[in-house]
Every structure is written in structure tokens, then in C-alpha cells.
């Protein structure tokens, strides 16, 4: 291996393998991904999935990105066989490529210092999220999450109290005559978090069976054991 051109050629081929496998191949398979239909479940009709998030949630994603929330929170639920995510009620099914179709940027995260947020919109309400952003330790004892009070404004109550004022429990309540108002970023962030829900059951992740299958249960797609009419 003393030839420069051969070295470069070898490196090119090696690098191309990795690039084909992790960039071009996935792009060919997933680059044209579109909305799909959910699996019919019980009486519910099939729905288009996913639906683009509303505008304020889109702005909230920018707040989420700017403050690096993804360095402590993931947004993906692993399948039952690869972790306890579903057992921790972070989601009813595993996350799929379709769930992120309209996200920009896609912030899956890589570490959980805080819980997974893939379905946080299903288990929270806007006021709860805002109180948690204002003082996380009010909700979770000795929480590790830093407070995001710079997303809020404490101001004197005007002629009327603002309908947007945050309802805070006693120790955090502002002094008499003052109110805590979430700034637009805080409201957008809460809207984004409320929009996080991976609800539709899709073909790749069908709904779990209503009750555990018995070992001798007949699969639904089995051919019924009816004798074919005898040929005349």
C-alpha cells in the first residue's frame, strides 16, 4: 500500500458503502413517504395519518430546538422487545417513520434525563405544562429539570386580571397585585408539546390484541375448517 491513487480509490469505495447504506438507500425507501391511513379498530373509521401540526405548535418546535430540549428528552418509543418504554406508558405503540413526517427539524434526542415526550400531549394539559416549565420542582419533587422562568413575565395586574395568567400553587404565586403571564414562546412551546401524540395505529404497528391470545386460539386469517363440497 504505497500508491497514493490506490489509497484514495480504496477510501472512496469504502466511504461509498457507508453512504449508500445510511444515506442513499434510506432516502430511496423513505424519501417519498406520504400520509397514510390508520388501521381500522373496532367502530372507529380509518383516518389520515399524520396530520400536519397547527401553526403555533410549529413555532413551539422552534423554541424546543433553540433551547436544546432534545438533549434531555427523546421523542421515540421503542418496541416492547427493545426496552421498557411502553411499560412506562410513554406510548401505546412503537414510534414509526410516519410519526415524524411533518417535523422540521426532527429532534429524536439520544438521552433521557427527563421522560420521553413522544406522547406528552396525551398525558398533559396546557396549564400543567406551563407550571412545569415555570417551576418543575413544584410538580416533581427534586426534579432535575431547570426552571424556564425566562419564558414568563411577572407584571402588575392591570385594570382587569389577564385571562392568560398562570394558575400557580401557593409558594410560587406572585406577590399580591402581580400576575405571571406566559410569554408567546412559552405558549408556543406548550402548544408544540400538546401536539406531540403518536396515536394512529398503522400497518407496521397494529393495535395490541384486546386480550392475550390463548395458545390454542385460531388465528383470524386461518381458513375455516369447512369441508369443501364434494365434487359431483
Amino acid at each position: 500500500m504505497n500508491s497514493g491513487p490506490l489509497l484514495f480509490l480504496g477510501l472512496f469505495v469504502t466511504m461509498a458503502c457507508s453512504w449508500l447504506g445510511f444515506v442513499l438507500g434510506p432516502q430511496l425507501q423513505l424519501g417519498g413517504l406520504t400520509q397514510t391511513n390508520t388501521v381500522v379498530m373496532g367502530d372507529a373509521l380509518s383516518q389520515t395519518y399524520p396530520v400536519p401540526e397547527p401553526g403555533d405548535a410549529h413555532q413551539g418546535a422552534e423554541v424546543y430546538r433553540a433551547n436544546g430540549c432534545a438533549c434531555c428528552h427523546t421523542e421515540m418509543v421503542r418496541p416492547r422487545s427493545l426496552g421498557s418504554d411502553i411499560a412506562h406508558s410513554w406510548g401505546a405503540r412503537r414510534s414509526l417513520a410516519e410519526d415524524y413526517l411533518f417535523d422540521q427539524p426532527v429532534m429524536l434526542g439520544s438521552q433521557r434525563v427527563g421522560p420521553d415526550l413522544a406522547n406528552v400531549g396525551l398525558r398533559s394539559d396546557t396549564n400543567g405544562i406551563l407550571v412545569r416549565l415555570y417551576n418543575p420542582r413544584r410538580i416533581i419533587r427534586r426534579s432535575l429539570m431547570p426552571p424556564y422562568r425566562f419564558l414568563f413575565e411577572t407584571r402588575k395586574i392591570g385594570f382587569f386580571p389577564s385571562p392568560d395568567a398562570l394558575v400557580l400553587p401557593a409558594p410560587d404565586a406572585p406577590p399580591l397585585g402581580y400576575e405571571v403571564i406566559p410569554r408567546p414562546q412559552a405558549r408556543a412551546l406548550a402548544a408544540y408539546l400538546m401536539s406531540l401524540r403518536q396515536t394512529g395505529y398503522l400497518f407496521e404497528a397494529p393495535p395490541p390484541p384486546a386480550r392475550p391470545l390463548k395458545t390454542n386460539a385460531v388465528p383470524t386469517n386461518a381458513v375455516p375448517a369447512v369441508k369443501a363440497p364434494a365434487a359431483k
Binding site: F22, Q27, R65, N67, G68, C72, S143, P146, P147
Partner: protein, 478 residues
């Protein structure tokens, strides 16, 4: 048969006195700037990391304003460590080794200087923008959209200089370090331009963005920094021991398998992607056991008769401890990618522990080992110019600090994973129980930062000594 090759025999029997003949040492300013910038960025990254670590003792710490909130500091720290320290340090090592091993002068020193200036100023603006909320949001590729093209242009300038330097080599025979350097220099523009194009310029659709960001971050560490650091190990360990490298073929095996398998990986098990992509990542990562064993065997047979000498040389200690850390980090990564293990360890502090060992352990220690050799020679001094006490203190602080941080993060990660595997443990309870090891890791991180500050003091000291010498020489001439 030319199985036994040593850097001492091929190219660089140059003693410090004959330093100016056909090496990069003839034009030291661009390389000095490159290295100084890299080490300063390492200091910045470690300081930011320490700031984030302190937030685990008290979440209210520096939480009043947006600029120093946890997430932003974390992103800025990543950018400073990978693109501020990692890339310039790898480039500097590469340029110096190409000059040394090829007996060629550094090509276009002014262009190198220009590239260094552009790189550092663009990155400083980028890191400031991240703290102001302008980060791109991809882990490992946090740079704002306007910053990345400038960095790419600066890199291409530096890379072309490296290519011309390589092309002007006087030695026909290539030493393994040269393959490793060329490999790492070749890798970066490809992965960086792909990430820039498909994440920032024309973002790929949906979850592909996450895949490309994982692929970029994995390649940047494993292949780019890995090859650059190993180039330094392959040069300095045989050279400073005065022994030939055991086997050139094993080195070639390690090189090609690391490039091929090391570049496939970084996708967590259970990611929302088609199963074949995740499988490819697992298979690639498991197969990095081949380069791991090849490198370990090669170095074992190179040094086995000189284990005492290995420890006696203060410069060599950095390099070989760095190499041992590379082996441990590689083994940890292989174990952590197995589906049964990753079900427990993924998304915990386990990954952070690996990053600590790889970047602050392997890469930073290897670079420091090389710098302790290179910097005095660039300045026309010899090894004695370093203050030996500061040097020893730096080694101890860096070594002990990385070990403390690594072991505590690993304990926190494994503990967190095992506790979370049982869904009856609530998430906040589990996190509270990992607090103690996490707080211990702050101690380790402050040791590493202190060590880096000692290095900067020592560096300032030899810069002053070189300045004094320069003035004395001028007086003599006058």
C-alpha cells in the same frame, strides 16, 4: 519482505537539531495557530461541560436567563468539542505527520493560516449563535445554517494544502500513519457536506434527518477522530520506544476494517426506521471488533519487551493511555449495541460515558501526547523546554479525571437502565437515584479542565522561552 517498518527507519530519524530539514517545522506559525486554537476550544468545551454538570447539583444554577440554560450550553459544548477541538486537532496532527513522514515542507502555509483563521472565527460566531438560540437542533451537528458552509470552505482550503503536501512527499514508501491521516482527511468533507446539504440546505424528509445526524455524529467520532488519533499512536509509540512496528499488514487490516465497519453505526436499536437500517448499524458496530483486535495485537507485540520504557517517558504515557482508552471505548460500544444490552443501556448515561472516554480520554490524551512532542520542535526548542512538574500534573489530572468521570457516568447509566427496565420504578425516582454518581462525575470533569489549563500554562511558558531565544539571536546578529 517489508513486514517490519518503523517510522524511525522510513522517514523521521530527524533529531531535534536537524528539525528544519523538510518538515512542517520550517514554517511553524500556521500549525502553531491550528493547535493553539484547538486546545483553547477544548478549554471552552470543558468549561461549558463543567457548567452543565454543576446544574445537576442545583438546577437553578445560571437558569435565570436563556443564554446559559442547560440545553444551549450542552449544544455549544458539543460544537466546541467536536468542531472546535476535534477537527482542527486532527487536521494539525495530519498536516504535521504528512510533512514529517513525507519529508516535505508544508504546502502553502499562508493558505493554511487563512483556513485556520476562517475556521476559528466562523466557529466562534456559530457557538455564540447556539447560545443565543440559533442552533440547528441536531445532536453532533448543532451548527447554524450560515456557519456550516464557511467551515466547509475553510476545511477544503486546509485539506487541499494537506493533499499537496502529501503529493510532494519525498519518500515513496507510505508508513501506516499516512494511510490513517489520508483516510481521516478524506472522510470529513464527505460526511460534513452530506450533513450540511441534507440537514440544513435542503432538509431530507422526516425521520431521515435523524438518521443522517446519527450517521454524521458516529462517523465524525469513530472514523474521522478515530483514524486521526490512531495515526498519532502508530507514529509516536514505535518512534519514542525506538522499536519497529510489529506488523504493517495488521495495521492495514485495522485501517480498512475501521473505515468500512466503523462508518456503519450510530443508529439506536428500536429507532423508528426500517429494520434493515438498524441491523446494518448493529452489524457494522459489532464487526469493529476486527480493527480493535488488530490494533491491540499489533501494539502488544510492538511494546511487549519495553513495558517499563512505556511508562518512563512522560510523553509516551499520554499516547499509550489514550490508546488503551480507545480499546475500552470500542469494546463498550460493541457491547452496548447488542439488542439485549441496548434495551437497558440506550438513552441512559451509558452513551455519555462512552463519549467522555472517547473524546476526553482517547482523542484528547493522544493529541496532548503528540503536542508535547510537536510544539517544542515547531518553536525550535527541545523537549526540556516543558516544565516537567506541570507536565506530570497534567497527565495525572487528565488520567484520573477521565477515569472518575467515566466510571461514575457508566455506573449512573447502567444503574439507570437496570432500574428503568422494571416499569414499577417511576422515572423521577430512578433519576434521583442516579444523582450521586452524576455528581461525582463533576469532580472528574473539573480535574480534566484543570489539567487542560495546566497545559495552556506550560504552552505559554514555552512560547515565552521561544520569544526570548528569538530576541537573543537577533541581538547576537546585530
Amino acid at each position: 519482505m517489508s513486514v517490519i517498518v518503523s517510522p524511525a527507519r522510513t522517514a523521521c530519524s530527524a533529531s531535534p537539531r536537524t528539525r528544519n530539514e523538510g518538515t512542517g517545522d520550517s514554517c511553524p506559525v500556521p500549525l502553531l495557530c491550528l493547535f493553539a486554537g484547538a486546545v483553547l476550544w477544548l478549554g471552552v468545551a470543558l468549561a461549558l461541560g463543567l457548567m452543565d454538570s454543576v446544574k445537576f447539583h442545583n438546577p437553578e444554577f445560571l437558569a435565570a436567563g436563556p443564554y446559559l440554560s442547560y440545553g444551549r450550553v450542552h449544544a455549544a459544548q458539543n460544537a466546541a468539542l467536536l468542531h472546535g477541538f476535534g477537527v482542527p486537532a486532527a487536521l494539525g496532527l495530519g498536516l504535521w505527520l504528512l510533512c514529517r513522514l513525507g519529508r516535505a515542507a508544508l504546502a502553502a502555509p499562508l493558505a493554511v493560516l487563512l483556513g485556520v483563521v476562517f475556521w476559528n472565527f466562523a466557529l466562534a460566531a456559530g457557538v455564540a449563535a447556539i447560545l443565543c438560540g440559533g442552533g440547528a437542533g441536531y445532536e453532533g451537528f448543532e451548527l447554524p445554517a450560515w456557519c456550516a458552509p464557511v467551515l466547509l470552505a475553510a476545511y477544503i482550503l486546509l485539506g487541499l494544502c494537506a493533499f499537496v503536501t502529501f503529493d510532494r512527499r519525498q519518500e515513496d514508501k507510505l508508513y501506516p500513519s499516512q494511510w490513517f491521516v489520508i483516510g481521516s482527511l478524506f472522510w470529513f468533507p464527505w460526511i460534513f457536506s452530506t450533513a450540511d446539504l441534507l440537514l440544513l440546505v435542503a432538509p431530507a424528509r422526516g425521520v431521515l434527518q435523524a438518521l443522517i445526524a446519527w450517521w454524521y455524529a458516529h462517523n465524525l467520532s469513530q472514523v474521522f477522530l478515530g483514524l486521526a488519533g490512531l495515526a498519532s499512536s502508530f507514529y509516536f509509540i514505535p518512534k519514542l520506544l525506538g522499536r519497529p512496528l510489529h506488523s504493517r499488514y495488521l495495521a492495514a487490516l485495522a485501517f480498512w476494517t475501521l473505515a468500512l465497519f466503523g462508518s456503519c453505526g450510530g443508529v439506536p436499536n428500536g429507532a423508528p426506521l426500517p429494520a434493515w437500517i438498524v441491523s446494518l448499524s448493529v452489524v457494522g458496530t459489532v464487526l469493529t471488533v476486527v480493527p480493535l483486535l488488530a490494533v491491540a495485537t499489533n501494539f502488544y507485540f510492538t511494546v511487549r519487551r519495553d513495558l517499563e520504557a512505556l511508562d518512563a517517558d512522560p510523553v509516551l504515557r499520554f499516547t499509550y493511555v489514550g490508546l488503551v482508552f480507545w480499546l475500552i471505548a470500542g469494546a463498550q460500544q460493541i457491547v452496548g449495541t447488542l439488542p439485549n444490552v441496548s434495551a437497558i443501556t440506550d438513552f441512559t448515561w451509558f452513551g455519555a460515558a462512552h463519549g467522555e472516554l472517547f473524546h476526553n480520554g482517547f482523542f484528547a490524551l493522544t493529541v496532548f501526547g503528540a503536542l508535547y512532542y510537536i510544539l517544542p520542535r515547531l518553536l525550535g526548542l527541545d523537549q526540556a523546554a516543558w516544565c516537567p512538574k506541570l507536565l506530570t500534573a497534567h497527565f495525572l489530572l487528565a488520567f484520573v479525571g477521565v477515569l472518575i468521570a467515566y466510571i461514575s457516568l457508566l455506573a449512573a447509566g447502567v444503574g439507570q437502565g437496570i432500574l428503568l427496565a422494571d416499569a414499577r420504578n417511576s422515572f423521577p425516582d430512578v433519576m434521583r437515584r442516579t444523582m450521586m454518581p452524576l455528581r461525582v462525575s463533576t469532580l472528574g470533569e473539573s480535574f480534566v479542565l484543570l489539567g487542560t489549563i495546566l497545559f495552556l500554562l506550560n504552552f505559554a511558558r514555552i512560547l515565552l522561552a521561544a520569544g526570548r531565544r528569538c530576541r537573543a539571536e537577533r541581538k547576537e546578529r546585530a
